[in-house]
């Protein structure tokens, strides 16, 4: 019970929820902290709605990136797609040198303002670490294990689902984790292109030289990134095979 209470994931999540609920009632506090400001509290949009919008954008783009990334990673590690592996790896290496903001900035004039360009940019950029780690994870499965499974009469599909993917899962999940964390950050900047995210108070605060707005956006979004990172850390710990202590010999 005591360990539960000290769980950082629990209290950072609670802090995030409490913060988002308390912010709309915090006007006197910010008025006292920033006496020079005419509008000490961001009231153009609801904080809970901004958090929901942020989560929706990251969830939708990362979800699509996981499906596409897994598919691409699995394809190029099969015999049928092996010829494409070099090409895909080149695209990933080059693509990862592109700053995420650059992808976002180019998507807007092509697609227009709003949710869509942010979604496309986050999807494209989020794909790269997932494909990368899917290939690394699947390639890291020892060949003798695959041989043994084949010897036991398992089909290619069964080998993939029951042997390769479970063994590669921790590595793949690490890729999903960095993809999601990058996307939380890019989604924040995406409020410059009209997406409804927690970046909105920051951007409006920066434009209007209003440090209170900046804090009201920056603190929840930083907390959100930390909560998601801790959640993935927890998931990863659950996936690791239990370590058996070797008997002292």
């Amino acid at each position: 019970m005591r360990a539960r209470l000290r769980d950082p994931l629990l209290w950072t999540s609670l802090a995030l929820v409490a913060l988002v609920l308390a912010l709309p009632r915090s006007k006197p506090l910010f008025a006292a902290l920033f006496p020079g400001l005419e509008r000490p509290l961001f009231e153009l949009d609801d904080f809970a709605a901004l958090l929901a919008g942020h989560l929706l954008l990251v969830g939708a783009s990362s979800g699509a990136a996981v499906l596409l990334g897994l598919g691409a990673g699995i394809f190029v590690t099969r015999a049928a797609g092996a010829e494409f592996r070099g090409l895909v790896e080149t695209i990933i290496t080059i693509g990862q040198t592109f700053p995420p903001v650059a992808v976002l900035a180019v998507a807007v004039p092509v697609i227009g303002f709003g949710f869509d360009p942010a979604f496309i940019a986050l999807l494209l950029y989020g794909l790269l670490p997932i494909v990368d780690t899917t290939i690394a994870g699947l390639a890291g499965v020892p060949a003798p294990l695959r041989e043994a499974a084949r010897g036991m009469g398992m089909g290619e599909g069964a080998i993939l689902c029951k042997l390769e993917l479970p063994l590669a899962a921790p590595v793949i999940l690490a890729g999903v984790r960095s993809s999601v964390i990058i996307n939380v950050g890019t989604a924040t900047v995406a409020s410059t292109v009209g997406a409804r995210t927690l970046g909105l108070p920051i951007i409006i605060g920066l434009n209007g030289a209003n440090p209170a707005y900046i804090l009201q956006g920056a603190v929840p979004v930083a907390l959100l990134a930390i909560v998601l990172d801790l959640a993935f850390g927890r998931l990863l710990a659950m996936l690791q095979p239990p370590r058996y202590s070797m008997p002292n010999s």
């Binding site: 903001v101 440090p211 900046i214 804090l215 930083a222 998601l228 990172d229």
Partner: protein
Amino acid sequence: MVRNRVLLVLLLAGLLAAPSLAFLTLAPNRLVSGAPISLGAALHGEALILLLPAVLLALGVFLPQRRALHALTAAAAAGFLLLLVRLAGSEAALLAQTAPPVARISLGGAFWVLLIIAALALSDALRRLAVPAPAGVLLGAVVVGALGLLLLSGALDSLAIVREYAARRTAFAAAILRHAAMVALALLPTVLLGLPLGVLARRREALAAWLFPLLNVVQTIPSIALFGVLLAPLSGLAGHFPALARFGIGGVGVLPAVIALILYALLPVTRNTSEGLAGVSPAALEAGRGLGMTPRQLLWRVELPLALPVILSGLRIAALQTIGLAAVAALIGAGGLGAIMFQGLFADALDLVLLGVLPIILMALAANVLFDLGLGRLRRLRR
């Protein structure tokens, strides 16, 4: 009989994109969206020579795969790339003759898709040829140099992106310098701070136990949030002590950006230094001790040289990340190439966005290539 399926897929993607997307767009002014001009409409007269490398690439799909064929494919891909850019420039010049002077002729989707396909075909052919990395880089530099000559010759002057450049030549050069300065100002302290911290973290577990989780949390915080949080106290400080503002310690500007960039870059440098030292084999340490080396000599002559490749890959991550994040710093008034990018974004002008984005990408690619070459050289020396 299909003998090169990668090239086939690339060609099919090109055949799909060329007729369905615009090669160029012609807008009478900046506010109106442009009318598309297809590649088919641009292919006339001299421009038909673009079909020659395209046919050669198609042959590469079906002919028996030999080294000579891969070399031909690589040459055809490079030729296609250069001819494509030249065609965009000459067709734009032709259109500009009849269009009003404020008309904007922009590069369209088909141009970009074909450009990327040609570059990918080139890299795939070089991989099949098993060209060593330095030679590949040299070939890439030759293609980029040829593009630069094309640009300098004035052949591309009618394109809107080149016009945007011509209209803000000095601001553009200043933005590149500011961007590079920000990256250097962030990376230098990162190395000076990160290397000793990494060494210390390896020596004292108590330090590593709180340092790495802390840097990890910093790394997860979205850049714009960290920029914003640093901005408020620094502007408050400058408000209370106006003298500070004269030294550039104002809220808006380079200082908060550089502090945030250092905080982000510290994790890869420190972690990789520590991990690199941990990877040094005990036998090497033992041998050093046997030679009578002091702990200091051991660190400088055995541990750090052996850990160098891992430290350099950490530095590579830090450099690439800093080049990209410095673009976001434009939002807090730090200037740089990000300022041009966001200016284009808010004006809905793709050409201006690209004018800001392309140098950022080129800078990142150049840094990546430099680190690749350095690491490759290091590995060969070890052998």
